[in-house]
């Protein structure tokens, strides 16, 4: 572990850095694609609850197996993310607590449990426990080539699932009542979508960390939405923006010492988003301003009022 970490810490563009960047870029791309669907389904923040519970899984996986290789930790994270979403469903089903409060509860308590476990592990100085807290804010420098390949493969599978079920997902997102009335299992399709979001949140952990990984599934799709009125284009743009943001974030964090990757990826995505909100044709701020101006009565008429 440590030799690669040393290598990556150096700003030189080693083979390893490039492969890792490619893996993280694949994650950014897939997160943008999956996030576009969850934006269309009006559940952009569903990933946030999952993200904040992943820490519990990371810590538990380490405690149970004593290993800290990425596949083990991410498997734990995925189990915990799904458990967090299940908790959300249970709260909704069995209590009067409303959705927003339920989400906040899962976020707060899930993250709290994760922090408690991580701090307990650190305080006991368990062998190999150093570096677990990198999952908080993301840290790609320590990734190995095998890790990057794993991230890329999972991302590719997620994108493939989206493309396969795009027709069904679009139908449910647009008009769930009609979908149910024509016999589509809306609940099942929703579950697949939510699971995909959970998977993307988990593989996004090394890039963005538990606290910020939501941004990977929210910001690029929001930016993409400004440019298009077609679902396929939305997915392509969402994926592209996510990919660009991930590459920029990884590159900058490789150059700036001690800077966690997550915030940089998020800021890159946010920049794209702000630009999109401003200049996108038709939906953008400038375009609308322009429309308003042209819709206003000509100066001569204005004087009449």
């Amino acid at each position: 572990m440590s030799p690669t970490a040393c290598l990556a810490a150096a700003p030189a563009l080693t083979h390893n850095t490039l492969v890792v960047a490619a893996g993280v870029a694949a994650v950014g791309c897939a997160a943008g694609v999956v996030g576009s669907l969850s934006l269309l389904r009006k559940r952009p923040l569903i990933g946030d609850a999952a993200a904040h519970t992943t820490l519990v899984g990371v810590a538990a996986a380490f405690l149970l197996t004593g290993r800290r290789d990425l596949p083990t930790l991410l498997t734990g994270a995925l189990v915990a993310a799904v458990a967090g979403l299940a908790a959300l469903v249970l709260v909704r089903r069995f209590t009067r607590t409303r959705d927003d409060a339920a989400t906040a509860i899962v976020i707060g308590v899930g993250f709290g449990l994760g922090i408690a476990l991580l701090s307990g592990i650190t305080a006991r100085g368990l062998p190999g426990s150093a570096g677990l807290e990198q999952f908080l804010l993301g840290h790609t420098a320590a990734l190995t080539v095998r890790d990057a390949v794993l991230l890329a493969v999972v991302s590719a599978v997620a994108v493939a699932v989206v493309l396969l079920g795009l027709k069904e997902a679009t139908l449910v997102a647009f008009d769930a009542d009609f979908a149910a009335a024509t016999g589509w299992p809306v609940g099942l399709i929703d579950q697949v979508l939510v699971t995909l979001v959970a998977v993307m949140v988990v593989v996004g952990l090394p890039a963005a960390g538990a606290v910020l990984v939501t941004a990977l599934v929210v910001i690029p799709p929001v930016a993409a939405r400004q440019w298009t009125d077609r679902v396929p284009t939305l997915l392509v743009l969402g994926g592209t923006f996510g990919l660009v943001a991930a590459i920029v974030g990884v590159a900058v964090s490789a150059v700036v010492p001690r800077m966690p990757t997550g915030p940089l990826v998020v800021l890159a995505a946010a920049t794209i988003c702000i630009v999109s909100l401003l200049i996108a044709p038709r939906r953008g701020w400038l375009a609308r301003r322009h429309q308003q101006v042209t819709l206003e009565p000509p100066p001569g008429m204005r004087r009449l009022r």
């Binding site: 009006k42 923040l45 941004a215 915030p263």
Partner: protein
């Protein structure tokens, strides 16, 4: 108030822990107070967003020379909080986005900005990057000022000031807050300055958030804001009761969480959130009217009542027809009969069971409900005769005396569609 103040068990470590607990509990109370209003107004996620978004404000203020916990930093953070809300609205309307999406974009971006600023400046200023995430409660007691001959942690003083301010503000504007939370449109129509009330709530949230930020960090503030309030909402119905219960839960949970963290040598902030979560789970299970236990019992009680009423009515109908009632078949039916006998509604007789006078009255009310409902449905719902029985079987267990009288008035003299008599009201 706490053992440090009177001199009977002062040892240094205990005093430190006591101060840390007192600080955390004060912050938790302030958060629970504000959080109650957030929860009832469905603004919980805003609390979450503010917890993250005030970070750049704090970072910039500290870089500009403010000391963490000073009024200057507080002011900067509150300003950032309000800016966040404004930005969220802007992004939402600029992108025609849903609430969630706008919030998601803004708070993650601001938090990322804050982390970058803090990390970049970590060498120059006294702001620990990890404190952003889970606070520095354990270090609070070490930064003290002297008041008289008492060394009081700065963190406790600022928490107490925040709690005092928020409590005063809450008491002063309570009626307006309640009115707005209950029905913003009606409040606006009645001349309540709804925008100002909401703005005040947002500022209060930002204030509580900043106080919590130092103690439990950006993310776990949301647990203090929302979890006790959500638990209180399950336990009591009135808003002012909710506030009191939420504050109590927050304080108790904080103390227990801190002690647990001490015991197991883990992050206090994390453990506090966990204990608050356990309190919420306890509320889900135990709440008096809506808890899982109460619901399970209620369901059982209802099933039991239906069973008993059905037995009584069966015997009554058999008497009316002059035949023998069908004997109870299942075990629960036999149990019900035993219970009815025990409570004096059935009396044993040579041929089998007979209704006592109390049992007869009860049975008659069930049959009366049944037949009145059949009559009503027959008149008003276009149901053929043979469809009337099943719905009445269901509704007969739900009608009270007043309801029966109203239905009777509407049914008029027509009587039961099958031609049986409708027993009179007892």
């Amino acid at each position: 108030m706490n053992p440090v103040l009177d001199g009977w068990s002062i040892d240094g470590a205990t005093a430190m822990h006591a101060w840390a607990i007192a600080t955390a509990a004060t912050v938790a109370a302030a958060c629970a107070l504000v959080g109650t209003l957030l929860v009832v107004r469905r603004m919980s996620l805003l609390g979450d967003a503010l917890g993250h978004a005030v970070l750049p404000g704090i970072a910039v203020a500290v870089l500009a020379g403010g000391r963490p916990g000073s009024p200057f930093v507080f002011a900067a953070a509150v300003a950032t909080g309000l800016l966040t809300v404004w930005l969220t609205r802007l992004v939402r309307s600029a992108g025609s986005l849903s609430d969630d999406a706008g919030t998601g974009v803004v708070f993650t971006t601001l938090f990322a900005l804050g982390v970058v600023i803090v990390t970049a400046a970590a060498s120059r200023v006294d702001l620990d990057p990890s404190c952003m995430l889970y606070g520095i409660l354990e270090l609070v007691p070490f930064d003290t000022v002297s008041i008289g001959d008492l060394e009081v942690p700065r963190g406790f003083i600022s928490a107490a000031v925040v709690l005092g301010t928020l409590t005063t503000a809450a008491i002063a504007t309570w009626k307006l807050q309640v009115f707005t939370a209950f029905d913003a449109d009606a409040a606006r129509a009645a001349g309540v300055p709804v925008a100002a009330v909401t703005g005040g709530l947002l500022a209060a949230t930002a204030l509580a958030t900043v106080a919590g930020f130092e103690v439990v960090g950006a993310v776990l503030v949301v647990a203090m804001l929302v979890v006790p309030a959500a638990a209180a909402e399950l336990l009591v119905r009135r808003l002012h009761h909710m506030v009191l219960v939420a504050v109590a839960l927050a304080v108790v949970g904080t103390c227990l969480g801190y002690l647990a963290a001490w015991r197991w040598n883990a992050s206090a902030a994390g453990m506090i959130a966990v204990v608050l979560g356990l309190e919420y789970v306890a509320a889900v299970v135990l709440a008096a009217d809506d808890g899982l236990v109460a619901r399970g019992l209620g369901r059982l009680r209802y099933a039991w009542r239906v069973l008993c009423e059905d037995r009584l009515a069966a015997v009554w109908r058999a008497e009316e027809k002059g035949t023998a009632a069908t004997a109870p078949v299942s075990l629960v039916q036999r149990l019900a009969v035993g219970w009815l006998r025990l409570t004096g509604r059935f009396v044993g007789r040579a041929g089998g069971l007979a209704l006592s006078s109390a049992g007869r009255r009860e049975a008659e009310m069930v049959v009366r409900s049944h037949r009145l409902w059949e009559a009503w449905l027959g008149q008003h719902a276009q149901l053929p005769l043979d469809h009337l029985h099943p719905p009445a079987e269901w509704v007969e267990h739900h009608l009270g005396a007043a309801m029966r009288q109203r239905i009777e008035a509407e049914v008029g003299a027509a009587g039961d569609p099958h031609g049986s008599d409708i027993p009179p009201e007892a």
